[in-house]
Subunit: 416 residues, 2 copies
C-alpha cells in the first residue's frame, strides 16, 4: 500500500506573530503518523481569504489528506466557513436542530445567546459535520476530487476531541499501515561521532528513518520504521537499541520516556540503595535533577551544596591542606568531598563535583570548563576530569549529566 | 515606508512527525515583528531536496525576507547546504580558518574530530557566514533578486544566538525601523489578572504593541513602539515600566536581561550580604538557580538539601517534636529550617522551602501543591503558605521562583 500524504494548515494571525506557539500542529501530526500517514508539510497562514484559498489549492494538489485548524469561532476574524463555501461553490445550510441545542446550551450556563452565535449552526452544504463534544464549533469533513479535508476549531481541547473522537476513526478505516518508533538517548558523545558509530548499524536495515536530536549536551536518536509487519519492526527496534547499547555502553543510557535521573533512580530503587550529592560548581543542580523524579525520597535524603571552601571544610571535612595544595578544583578535593558526604549521610552512593563553571575563574592549568566529577560507594571511588566549554549554564548542565551517568555506570559495574 | 514581508521556513522530519513542537518559529516571528516586519506565512517541510527547493522558490516569490531553520548539523539528514548550492548554482567553499578552529574545539574537549564535521566549515560561495557563538554550525545570509535569505541551525540556543547577535543587526539596518522595546518580567500573577491591570496603562499610548509571554509560572510583557522618535519611545518605555512597578511592586521584578536570580544577586551584592538555602521539596533547585549567575560565589557559600526528616534534624536541628506535631510541611518546620540554616552558615539571609511536590503525598489538609516558603535574616522570619498545582516539576519551579521573589521583597523591606 502506498503511504497517504498529509498536509496540516493552521489559520491564525496570533500564530504568525509568534504570540502563540502552535502546539496543535504537533498533536495533529502525532495522531496522523500513528495511523501511518506521512505528514509532508505544514503551513501556517493568516485569517484572510486569499491565503486560505491558495493554501487549499496547494494542499489538494500536494497531499491526499488535509487538515485545516482555526478560524471557526464566532468572532469577526474567523472567516473559514464562508471561504469554504466560496471555494467549493456551495451555499451555507442552517442546521435547526443544532441551533436549538446551542441555544439550550447557553441557557443552561446562564449566558445570553448572542446573534453572532447563529453562525455556529451553519455549514457549507457539502460538509459532513463532525460533532464537537466539548464546545460549540463543530468540525467538518469534505471529500473533494478523491481527497479529504478535515476542518477543526483552533481551541486545543476542542481540536483534540474532534481529532480523537471523529477524525481518527474515519482515517483508521481509510488506512491500514503501521509505523513503529523508538527514541534512544545518549550522553557525552558529540553528534558527529555518534553518527559515525551508528551509521553501519542503520545501514543494515531498510525502510528506516533516523533523526539526531541534540539537546543540552545530550543527543536523542529517533528511529522509525514504516512497515506492514508491526511485530518485525518492534523487534528490529529493540535489536537496534541493544546493538547500540553494546557498542556504546557508556553513552546510551535509556529509551523513550527515560531520562538520566529516572534511569539512575530505577537502579537505586531496585538495589534498595540511596545516593547523596556534594556539589560545588553544579550548585545543587544534581540534587534538583534527582528530585525531579516522583518518589525520589525513597533513595535521596541529603544533598550538600558546598560552594565555598569554608563550607567544604565545615560540611564535608575537606582538609585545608588539601585545598591549599591542590585547589578546590582537583581530584583530591573531590575525593574528600565524596568521603565527607558518605560519612555525613546514610547514603550508599555519593556523587561529588568541583569545577570552573565560568565565565571567569579559569587558569592555564584549569581553564573555564574544567570539572572533576567523582562517584563512590563505601569502598571505592572513581574520579574523572572533564573539559567542557565556556558557557556557565551549559557547563553546569553537562557536569550534572556526566555525574549522573558516571553513577549509572558505577552501579552497573561498568565504570573504568 | 512599506512594511517588509517575511516568511519563515523550518526544515525537519521531527517537526512534521509532531515529536518536537516548533518553538523556534515563535521566537523568530517575535523578533521579526519587533523590527516592524510582517510575518505573512510559515512553512514546515521535511529534510528533502525537492521540498526545500520548492519552498525557496515560493518564499522568494511571496516575501522580501526568508528565514530557513534546521538542517545544518553534521549528520546525514542535514542536507540544507548542498541544496542551497544547487539552488543558487554555486559551489561549496571550505573555510580553512574555521576548520582549524573547529578541530581545536574538539581537541580541547578531548573528542576525536570525525570527518563528518568537515562539512561544518564549508559554505556555498555566495553565502555571507553568520557567526554562531554557541555551536559549530554557522548561520548564512544570502542576497537573491533583491531579497534576503537567512539560514540557521535548528538547535534553539544556536538559532537564538545567531538571530540576536547577527540577523537582528542586519535587519535593523535594512529596515531602519526605529522599534524600541522592553521586556518587563512578572512573577506570581496570572496572565488574565496582569492583563486587566496593565490594559488601562497601555491604552494611554499610541503605536504600542504588547505581547504576553508566559513561561514556567512567570509572565513577561514584551512592549514595543514603532516610532520615528526613538528618544520619546525610550522614555515612554521607562515610564511604562515604572508605572507597572508601582502598580504591582510584589510582582514586577525586572526588565530585559534580568531574571529573578540576577535581581536577588544584585541586591545581595550591593548590600555586601549573602544568602543560604534550606530546601526540601525544591530539592536543590533554588541553590542551582542562585548559582546560575556568574560571580554568585560572592554571596552564596552554602546550601542544605534536606529531603528527609532525619536530614532536617541532623543538618538543620529541626526538632523531632516539631515534625511529629506539625509535619514536615508546616510553618513551624520551615521556621526551624530557617534558623538552622542561618546558624550553620555565615549567611545574612536564608530561604527555606517545604511542600508536597506531588504527584503523590497530598492530604485533605495539605493537598499536592501545598508549599510553605520562608525567608529570614538574623532577627526576622516571614513564612507564607502557597497552593500550586499538581505537576511536580512546575511545583518545584514555582516554589523556587516564589522563594526568590520573597527574598527580593524581604531585602527591599516590602514583604508583609
Amino acid at each position: 500500500m502506498t503511504q497517504l500524504k498529509a498536509i496540516t494548515i493552521s489559520i491564525g494571525d496570533e500564530l504568525l506573530s509568534g504570540k502563540t506557539i502552535d502546539s496543535n500542529n504537533a498533536f495533529i501530526s502525532q495522531q496522523l503518523e500513528l495511523l501511518g500517514l506521512s505528514v509532508i508539510k505544514k503551513l501556517i497562514i493568516g485569517d484572510n481569504k486569499t491565503d486560505i484559498i491558495e493554501a487549499l489549492d496547494w494542499g489538494f494538489k500536494e497531499a491526499d489528506i488535509l487538515t485545516l485548524t482555526g478560524g471557526l469561532g464566532p468572532t469577526h476574524d474567523d472567516i473559514t466557513k464562508t471561504v469554504l463555501c466560496d471555494y467549493f461553490e456551495v451555499g451555507l445550510l442552517r442546521d435547526e436542530t443544532l441551533l436549538e441545542n446551542l441555544k439550550l446550551r447557553f441557557e443552561k450556563r446562564g449566558f445570553k445567546f448572542a446573534p453572532s452565535n447563529i453562525s455556529q449552526a451553519e455549514y457549507p452544504e457539502n460538509a459532513n459535520v463532525l460533532e464537537n463534544s466539548v464546545g460549540t464549533a463543530q468540525g467538518m469533513h469534505f471529500e473533494h476530487q478523491g481527497k479529504h479535508l478535515f476542518v477543526m476549531p483552533g481551541v486545543p481541547g476542542e481540536m483534540r476531541a474532534i481529532i480523537s473522537e471523529q477524525i481518527v476513526p474515519i482515517l483508521t478505516e481509510m488506512t491500514q499501515a503501521s509505523v513503529d518508533k523508538i527514541d534512544i538517548h545518549s550522553v557525552g558523545m558529540p553528534e558527529s561521532t555518534l553518527y559515525e558509530i551508528c551509521k553501519p548499524v542503520f545501514d543494515t536495515y531498510d525502510n528506516i528513518k533516523v533523526a539526531y536530536l541534540p539537546k543540552l549536551g545530550m543527543v536523542t536518536l529517533r528511529v522509525s520504521f514504516q512497515s506492514e509487519d508491526r511485530d518485525k519492526s518492534t523487534s528490529d527496534l529493540t535489536d537496534i537499541y541493544n546493538e547500540l547499547q553494546e557498542l556504546m555502553p557508556r553513552n546510551i543510557y535509556g529509551r523513550d520516556n527515560d531520562n538520566l535521573s529516572s534511569v539512575v533512580g530505577g537502579l537505586l530503587l531496585s538495589g534498595k540503595t540511596s545516593v547523596t550529592t556534594a556539589e560545588s560548581c553544579t550548585g545543587g543542580l544534581i540534587a534538583s535533577l534527582i528530585t525531579d523524579i516522583g518518589g525520589s525520597s525513597e533513595y535521596f535524603n541529603t544533598g550538600f551544596v558546598t560552594y565555598a571552601n569554608e563550607t567544604k571544610m565545615a560540611m564535608l571535612q575537606v582538609k585545608s591542606e588539601t585545598l591549599e595544595k591542590h585547589g578546590a578544583v582537583s581530584t583530591e578535593t573531590v575525593s574528600e568531598m565524596l568521603s565527607g558526604a558518605l560519612n555525613n549521610s546514610k547514603a550508599d552512593y555519593g556523587i561529588a563535583v568541583s569545577g570552573v563553571a565560568g565565565p571567569t575563574g579559569g587558569t592555564d592549568d584549569k581553564p573555564v570548563g574544567t570539572v572533576y566529577i567523582g562517584v563512590a560507594d563505601k569502598s571505592n571511588q572513581v574520579i574523572k576530569r572533564f573539559q567542557f566549554g565556556t558557557n556557565r549554564i551549559m557547563n553546569k548542565r553537562m557536569s550534572a549529566n556526566a555525574g549522573l551517568n558516571q553513577l549509572r555506570l558505577f552501579i552497573l559495574g561498568e565504570l573504568s
